[in-house]
C-alpha cells in the first residue's frame, strides 16, 4: 500500500514539519498524525471523505478515516515503516489544500 519505501522521520524532523501544520495532532507515540474536519451534514462529510480518497488513490498512500454525521477524522501513518514518513506530510498538505486550495 505504501510504495516506494519511505524512511521514518526523526523526532526533530517530525517536530519541524508538524510546526507548519499545527491543526494536525500527533499521536502520543508519534506514530501517526490526524486531524478532524467539521462539516454541515453527512452529505458534505462524505463529499470530503471522497476527496481525501482521491488523494490517497493518486499518492498510493491511504489514511484511516472516521466518518460521523458532521465530522471526518483523517489519520496518516506509514504502516510499512511503522510510523511517520515524508509521505505522510506530503499527503497532509494535499488534504489541507482541499479546504484552503
Amino acid at each position: 500500500m505504501n510504495t516506494p519505501a519511505s524512511p521514518l522521520l526523526s523526532p526533530d524532523r517530525i517536530a519541524s514539519e508538524h510546526a507548519t501544520l499545527p491543526q494536525w495532532a500527533l499521536s502520543s507515540d508519534e506514530k501517526s498524525i490526524s486531524r478532524s474536519f467539521s462539516f454541515k451534514n453527512y452529505y458534505h462529510t462524505m463529499a470530503f471523505a471522497n476527496a481525501v480518497a482521491w488523494i490517497a488513490h493518486q499518492q498510493d498512500h491511504h489514511p484511516d478515516m472516521t466518518v460521523s454525521y458532521n465530522k471526518c477524522t483523517v489519520t496518516y501513518s506509514t504502516h510499512s515503516a511503522g510510523g511517520i514518513t515524508a509521505k505522510d506530510f506530503t499527503a497532509i498538505k494535499a488534504v489541507e489544500n482541499l479546504i484552503t486550495g
Copy 2:
C-alpha cells in the same frame, strides 16, 4: 439527525433482533452495534462507504464509519435515544442487503 423519535429497545428485543444478524457485534454496553466489512482495496472500500451513506441519507439515520485500506466498519446507535432502537436494526438490514443483493 434521527427523526422521528424511536424508543430504546429492551435487552430482550435487542437479543432477539441480534440473533438474526450474528455478523454484527453489540458493544459491551449494548448501546451500539457494528460490523466490519472487508474489501479488495481502497476503491472498493470507499464505494461501499458511499453505498452505506446513501442508505443513511434515505433513512435520515447516520452510522459512524471507519474506513481503512480494505475495511469499513459501520456502527449504528440512535444517539437521540442513547442506545439501540428499531431504527438501527432497520438500517443494519439495509446495509446487509448491499452485500447480499
Copy 3:
C-alpha cells in the same frame, strides 16, 4: 463488463417489462433505457450517483450516467449484446429500490 452473456430481449418482452417501469424511457431504437432523477443539489445528486455505482459494481453491469447540478440520468444497455437484456431490467429494479426501498 457484462458477464455472463445475457441474450437480447424480444420487443414483446421489452414491452412487457417496460410496462411495469413506465418512469423509464426506451430509446427510439429500443437499445437502451433511461431515467432522470431529480435532486436538491449537487451533493444529493452525487450521493445518488454513488449509490447507483454500488449497484453497478455488485451486478458487474454498468450504466452510463450524466450528472448535472440537480439531476442524474441513468442509462442502461447491455453493450456486449447490442441492446436490452434481462440484466438491464434487473439493474433498473435495483435502482428504483434506491428511491423507494
Copy 4:
C-alpha cells in the same frame, strides 16, 4: 449555482486561455468546454467524478459530467452568464491538478 456573477469572456480571451489547456475542447458555439478522462474501471471513474464534485462544491461551480465504465467527461459552462467565464477556467485548472497535481 454560480455566485458571484462572472462576465462572459471575449473570444480572444477564451482563445488565449484555451491555448494553455489544449486537452480541453471548446464546443462549436464556444459556450462550453469539456474534456474526457480515461480510467481503468468504474471504481476509478467514480473516484474521479467524486474528486471533481469536491472541486465543484468548493467553488460553487458545477460541471456536467458523463460517467461510463472507463471514462468521465467533464463539461464546464457558466449557465448564469450563458457561456464561458473566468470561473470555468479556474475550475478546469483545478480539475487538471487532480491528475497532475
